[in-house]
Amino acid sequence: MDEIQRKLQQNSKATREDHLGRTICYICIGLIIALVTCILYFIASKGIATFTKDHVNVWQFLTTSNWEPTSMDSKGRPMVGALPMIVTSFSVTLLAALVATPFAIGVAIFMTEISAKRGAKLLQPVIELLVGIPSVVYGFIGLSLIVPFIRHIFGGTGFGILSGTLVLFVMVLPTITSLTVDSLKAVPMHYRQASLALGATRWQTIYKVILRSATPGILTAIIFGMARAFGEALAVQMVIGNAILMPKNLVSPASTLTSKLTTDIGNTVMGTLPNDALWSLALILLLMSLFFNMLVRFIGKRGNIKNAS
């Protein structure tokens, strides 16, 4: 057997390198999965205690609006109704996404279609800086500018869903924008060429060809923006008013899941109902972020099918 034949049938340095590399990657991915499992387990087990240990009815938890974990109702059951927080969380999230989306799409179109070179160069750092501004700072700017502004215009205290929406609008703008930019960039260059060569105007090209084929990507961007809004705590907490009341309008104090959580967690004792009930709120947040992700996957799959058929 000659040298080459032997080498062909033996493992070499390259084989070992590959094994090592693969192992490293598997370990890393394993770590991430372990982390996620761990976080899911911890929060789920804590969050479920309200229902298993303290015997709160899940349905009641989700649909009633009285949150007084320290007192009992007439039947001797603790009163933990998270409905106002759930409603408020959804309201600010949806509204913020609603306001931010047109802006995000506009900016993204500008960056990819209208002024791809200079526009992108100017706006990329703008977006990165918006991401970089800490949420506490957003919160305080909200508290010292937006709340008085809203109070001035609408009366009342100025705290409420509207202020929360405005703060979140700025906070989710970069998320939605940069993901939208990605999805617009992913539309093959030749679609634009083809459309322009047919005599379509730029706007026709953008509206009928580019936005159409980027729709799944844009929806994904919006959902990720909503996930971000849903989970934002400190900034919202500063401007939302933190009153556990069903929101009557956009300018009355209300409370989101996150704001309730941050406000109260330090004042409760681990293992007692008031504390468990807060963990249940955290569990809702967790489930919602799972839900948002499922939604994105679903849209991604649908988008693929649509493009392929």
Partner: protein, 264 residues
């Protein structure tokens, strides 16, 4: 690389009716000039090939003719189409592109059905009459020699077609707009010989009704299908003549070298 004198050029003097002509076109990408002083006339209902080495400026020149270079390059000079200088910034470029269609090197159908690929631009241009649309659909696919192959699956995705079919679809999409001039930039270079020869047939058929200007690397192709051939070298037009003459008796040394493969 051999060097040639760019002044040593030959441009045939044509007398017939012209579809489009360029007058002293200069194109620059930023500071780099890609096309120098190019004046060519393209007779109606003929097929004209543009040949030349890679980077010689064929695509750049071709893309000027329907203003696809807008925003990418600066184009100076006049481009006369129906007595209008379509290189004038005031000219409506969208109209220009409707009359002067273009097909690219790589097939680029939209991710829509075959039908929608053809009808999309028509509808956008305000044609909504069902009959007219159907007619145009069939006519253009017929002309692009694609009708027989796809007539039963007009509503499936265009992306499911083979490369050659996609390219013919792109041609059909262009001719559905009833252009006067069709610009083709190496339309067959990504295709196999069979698809290529189908495209060549299509092009020859089309030239009954419109003028075709085609960029190609394939000398055989140029000599097979075109009436006139223009040879580009480093941004300069070196020779423009009847195809037969270019390939048998080129007047300029550079052309001769290029065609005989003794170039560069």
């Amino acid at each position: 690389m051999k060097t040639y004198d760019f002044n040593d050029k030959y441009i045939i003097d044509l007398k017939s009716e012209m579809a489009i002509e360029t007058d002293n076109i200069q194109v620059s990408y930023g500071k780099n000039q890609a096309i120098f002083d190019t004046s060519l006339k393209f007779p109606r209902f003929k097929i004209i090939s543009l040949i030349g080495a890679s980077g010689s400026g064929k695509s750049t020149y071709l893309r000027c003719l329907n203003r696809m270079n807008d925003k990418i390059a600066t184009v100076d000079g006049k481009i006369m189409y129906r007595n209008v200088d379509i290189n004038d910034p005031k000219t409506n470029v969208y109209e220009v592109r409707k009359h002067i269609g273009m097909v690219f090197q790589r097939p680029n159908p939209f991710a829509k059905s075959i039908r929608e690929n053809i009808l999309f631009a028509l509808k956008e241009n305000g044609i909504h009459d069902k009959n007219e649309l159907e007619e145009r659909l069939e006519m253009s696919l017929q002309d692009a020699a694609l009708w027989e192959e796809v007539k039963d699956e007009l509503d499936t995705s265009a992306l499911a077609l083979s490369g050659g079919q996609q390219q013919r679809l792109c041609i059909a999409r262009s001719i559905a707009m009833k252009p006067d001039v069709l610009l083709l930039d190496e339309p067959a270079s990504a295709l196999d010989p069979i698809s290529t020869s189908k495209i060549e047939d299509t092009v020859q058929l089309l030239s009954k009704n419109l003028t075709v200007i085609i960029v190609t690397h394939n000398m055989q192709q140029a000599s097979r299908i075109s009436d006139y051939t223009a040879f580009f070298h480093m941004g300069h037009i070196i020779e423009y003549n009847e195809t037969r003459k270019i390939f048998t008796k080129p007047k300029i040394k550079a052309t001769d070298d290029y065609i005989s493969g003794d170039f560069g």
